[in-house]
Amino acid sequence: MYSFVNVHKRYGLRTVALRKLNLDIRQREFFVLYGPAGAGKSTILNLIAGTTKPTSGDLLRNGHSIVHLPPERRGAAMAFENYALYSHLSVAENLAFPLRAQGIVKAEVEERVRKIASVLGIGHVLERRPGFLSGGQRQRVALGRAIIRPADIYLLDEPIGHLDAKLRHKMRAELKALAEDMHATVLFTTTSNKEALALGDRVGVLNSGRLEQVGTPHELYHKPANTFVGSFIGDPPMSFISVSVEVDQGNCKLRTADGRIIGRMDTPPPTNATLKLGIRPNAITLSDTEMPETIPGRIDVIEHLGHSKIAVISAGKDNISVSLPAASPARIGDKVWMAVNSSGYHVFANETAIQRGIN
């Protein structure tokens, strides 16, 4: 188990990469670090690898600090975002590199290189230099070089992020199967919502060096801790509507800016908090006539996504995305009424999630 204890990381004097990070990576879990570019994902990998040191705080492996251990004694294997292949060595030599470095005998090195190459489907390019490989092949070599030797933890830095969509889709499934087979501790970074949800046993959502929430994909999707997580998990993203609360005999009604009731909650929210409702695009039903507890809007944009459509509907100052089937007759300019599915929204007070109660 790896534990970050109050880790700060600054580059130079001004650039803060991580703020007070507290995080446990458990034995044999597939942990995904998910966040936008520059959120601090790679920094966390590099801290574990020992290729950079924390500005303050401690990093423990099974309870012992490893901050002062050099990279070669960290027991970590890493696949880098830019692949970091040795262009002066053949694919076979690239794969053999970590084994040779450990002083493993030649016959065994060759055996293991052959085996990993066949697992990854790169057996036919072993004699080539990396410069003569396709992007997908390079990515596999980089992955192979990371997993060819036993390690306490495998650090995979956006290993499939630069592949084209088709290959990424295929590799995502293969990577998940491979991780199940290896049954190892894996730390994986991504900017893709789908990769995070599909691969992670647990996911940590990072934003500007701050860990916003850690949890299973199910927890992140169904109980986002704040508006950032709400908007960042799920595709298409959640929309937000500003609401105010009206307490009525312990029953709180949530009203939009023009006074319409859009939801309810059991416990009143903190007073003077700015309230927002987060609604997933599949939690709204449209109708062309007014019904109780619906809010009116106008369709501004319709986006085709092949199997479905997204309508972007303006309601007052808010824009709300709604998923529609591809065959939906909705058109730009239509006036519609939106009903929010009672279990399909989240309430945030000052950007932080609050319990809605059982309603």
Partner: protein, 351 residues
Amino acid sequence: MARITARKLIKRYGAVQAVHGIDFDIADGEFVAILGPSGCGKSSTMRMIAGLETISDGDILFDGKPVNDIRARDRNVAMSFENYALYAPITVYENIAFPLRSSGMDESEIDKQVRSVADKMELTAILGLKPGALSSGQAQRVGLARALVRKPAVFLLDEPISHLDTRQRYRMRRFIKSIHQEFRHTMIYVTHDQEEALALADRVMVMSDGEIQQLATPDEVYSRPANAFVAGFVGEPPINFLDFQSDGDRAIIIEGNRIMLSDHHVSRLAEIGTKGVAAVRPHFLSLGENSTVKFLGIGFITEELQDHNEIFVDIGKTRVSLITPPNQRVKRGEAVSISINPEHLLLFPTQ
């Protein structure tokens, strides 16, 4: 505003031909996305329209008049680049004003134009900042504003949002769409991302190997792809391909399963011959035996994406993916049945 026509348009780089004599017609005010993988000729095509690349052969016409010999700056074309191409040492205001100053407009008119476009692009608050202080979404909007302020006849966008994160991409997509709805320029949008192309464009031009594979509405490109390339390139998750052999002229065999074809498939099969590929979208496959047509497969992976699951199953030597409700799963190595409505099969010749 302009109608853009290409006739037998060819681009060569030395001995290599990148665009192989393509023809297309883009209506005045239309929004067309050119979609394709890298190296398909989409950027060359756009750059020929912009006048940044010479035309090796054939013609490009604006409103029926050839523009082959008209310089880029005289074509009244604006272009926005992936990397923004903002001038770092000057403010957002000056960046937007830049194209107007070089045309020698007087100061009060420039001010009016800059403020008007800045207002529409929600940039008024940051006019005094320098590009270094902007977020990537803001910088992209400034880039668009600078392109728009000249009131171009044609607006070209080269992968403008491919490097933004999901949320910003959604926001910018809507922004670009609303610009088009407001200004009604002829817009051409180059991208390798099928979702952007489908979401934004009136028509999508799918390119591969320097040729147009299909030029049609997003719905047609998705539902009635012209060939296997278009079928495979458009749609997320990607479409599944399965090899088939004909069995008489009304049925096909896929991995040992005999499938009766409906009438429109029968004529299609006659065109294709005895062997080909059948394509089916992951949304049209389901787990279990709820259709007459089913395949036996071996479970590989279940991805729980919360609002739905994506399941990978090996049918013979072919791995397919299917979209299921969140409660369905397969285990590794488990024998499962997969059902398909044959109406949703698309048949293509083997590539």
